[in-house]
């Protein structure tokens, strides 16, 4: 089955992973800006990273027939440095018209600190001013519930934001209901230890239905599995769910959400094949 991974950090994966994703049915990925495994020291370091996301990764993905999109920000884990964060936020508009840039993300909270909140609010302001969709990181483990509620409070209080243009990622059993009830998109991240398994994601699909719900692998530097979405597809098939439901979660929903961005240009397999024949 064709699928889209809406949250995967391909800069931290080897080229062989692109080949594996393509063989598993992946036709597109979206890559939110993330941390580099260390704290970057300057806005210029981020400028180079944004060039990697907007220029290098799309070419690397295209070699395997995968369409690559991205989101830009300074990640919550680096937001304790408010001065650097402001320099990066000021520079982001340089890239917002680049092909494949879908919006601002993954912004959010990590340890739910005051500085993270300040930088998150300034990212929201950037997104509102430039009419950008938003992709949000919610904290992990014991910080997730509190941080998700704080994030929802801040989103709800900004009347400039349309809820249908915001994806709240890394939802789990104790946060998914609130995110969906308030009208936002929700992303389930399939990731060892700190997030959820394909089985638990299938449980949430059964409980909440496929409306505004997606799944991703978040494949990154850490112990993660870039082919986690095929694992979810397999689990749903094993439970007897029909192909239309599965396709909605892993393919149609990401496309519907990405259409909120003016930079989203997507070609399905049939279009690509017909172009080749011309």
């Amino acid at each position: 089955m064709d699928y889209i991974d809406p949250h995967i950090h391909m800069v931290s994966r080897i080229t062989d992973d692109y080949a594996t994703l393509a063989r598993m049915g992946c036709v597109a990925v979206s890559e939110p800006a993330f941390l580099a495994g260390f704290d970057r020291g300057s806005a210029d370091g981020f400028r180079d990273y944004f060039r990697q996301l907007t220029e290098v990764e799309p070419k690397r993905a295209a070699q395997y027939g995968i369409q690559h999109y991205c989101w830009l920000c300074i990640n919550a884990k680096e937001a304790e440095n408010v001065s650097l964060s402001r320099d990066v936020i000021k520079m982001i508009p340089e890239f917002l018209d680049a092909p494949g840039v879908l919006g601002i993300g993954e912004i959010g909270l990590n340890k739910n600190t005051k500085n993270e909140v300040i930088v998150f609010l300034e990212h929201l302001d950037l997104a509102a001013k430039y009419d950008q969709p938003i992709l949000i990181h919610t904290p992990h483990l014991e910080d997730k519930y509190q941080g998700t509620r704080m994030i929802l409070d801040m989103l709800d209080s900004d009347s400039r934001l349309q809820r249908s243009r915001v994806l709240v990622d890394h939802v789990e059993e104790h946060t998914i209901g609130e995110v969906l009830d308030r009208g936002y998109w929700a992303g389930m991240t399939l990731y060892p230890v700190t997030k959820c398994t394909p089985q638990r994601a299938a449980d949430m699909i059964e409980k909440y239905g496929p409306e505004r719900l997606m799944a991703n692998s978040a494949g990154d530097w850490g112990p993660s599995k870039p082919t986690a979405i095929p694992d979810l597809i397999f689990e749903l098939r094993r439970r007897g769910h029909d192909e239309a439901l599965i396709r909605r979660v892993v393919y149609e929903n990401p496309i519907s959400f990405f259409r909120n961005s003016r930079n989203f240009v997507f070609h399905d397999r049939a279009e690509i094949a017909s172009r080749r024949q011309v």
């Binding site: 739910n112 005051k114 909140v117 300040i118 609010l121 483990l141 014991e142 910080d143 997730k144 519930y145 509190q146 509620r149 704080m150 409070d153 789990e172 059993e173 104790h174 638990r200 449980d203 699909i205 059964e206 409980k207 239905g209 439970r239 007897g240 769910h241």
Partner: protein, 108 residues
């Protein structure tokens, strides 16, 4: 919306659940053994005239992580939550508390 029957789910998952239960039991046994060894060592060295033995076990009982595990096990037994809500209840148990007035505390 589940497509599988309860019997099929049980058949499918029994060995997985069995393995995880044994893993939890083994960790709890390991904790007990470590507490026992710590009390034996402190008893031999005469620390606290034998209070070290009770101290080590008391410390373990009062350790918040151990208490959280015990509470989570109670939730598994469905003593405190509605059917079908155990996962969310355990997630909330193992989470930091949310306060509605957090913005005032931060001054933002």
């Amino acid at each position: 919306m589940s497509q599988a029957s309860p019997t099929r789910i049980l058949d499918d998952q029994y060995l997985t659940v069995r393995a995880k239960l044994i893993e939890v039991a083994a960790v709890l046994d390991r904790l007990d053994r470590a507490a026992g060894q710590a009390s034996a060592v402190s008893g031999q060295s005469g620390v606290g005239s034998g209070q070290g033995s009770a101290g080590a076990i008391d410390d373990l009982d009062q350790e918040p992580k151990r208490a959280a595990i015990e509470q989570a096990i109670q939730i598994l037994l469905r003593g405190t939550v509605d059917p079908g809500e155990r996962t969310e209840a355990i997630q909330r148990l193992l989470s930091r508390r949310y306060a509605q007035d957090w913005r005032q505390s931060f001054g933002v």
